[in-house]
Symmetry: C2
Subunit: 85 residues, 2 copies
């Protein structure tokens, strides 16, 4: 079994309002950062996992995203898998 | 002014317990993904901003992270800046 790290981003889809992102945009504008046009806020998840190969690790991360981590109605996910050592 | 996108990750530092990450680990184990050893959960923020140059954009993102987005006592941040077009 090899060790992998998965870096997963889960973001609200474009079509959906993101009130947290709106709040961040306003907060940054109030700080004087008026050049920030839009902010969107989602989750970042780091998983340490073991698998026989990178393909198997990818399969597991897909399962994790689809069954637990992302709400596919409102969110989309993307990830990167890195081999450790 | 050029357009940039900043992809920011904000994660709880190693030394701090991450109960949300623990819950994710347990949830994945219950789903049959026993090979997941550790999960940590943080935020992912995408900013669209304008700046004269990539260096200026970086400065603005640093300010945003330090003054609003990250709690530097409990979190660390990292980011990537991409020029648009």
């Amino acid at each position: 079994m090899k060790k992998f790290i998965a870096e997963i981003d889960i973001m609200p889809i474009r079509e959906i309002l993101d009130p947290q992102g709106k709040a961040v945009t306003l907060g940054l504008n109030n700080l004087g950062l008026n050049e920030v046009a839009e902010a969107r806020v989602g989750k970042h998840i780091t998983l340490q996992l073991e698998a026989e190969s990178e393909d198997k690790a990818k399969e597991k991360v897909e399962t994790a995203c689809q069954k637990l981590l992302a709400n596919l109605i409102m969110e989309k996910y993307s990830y990167e898998i890195l081999a450790v050592e």
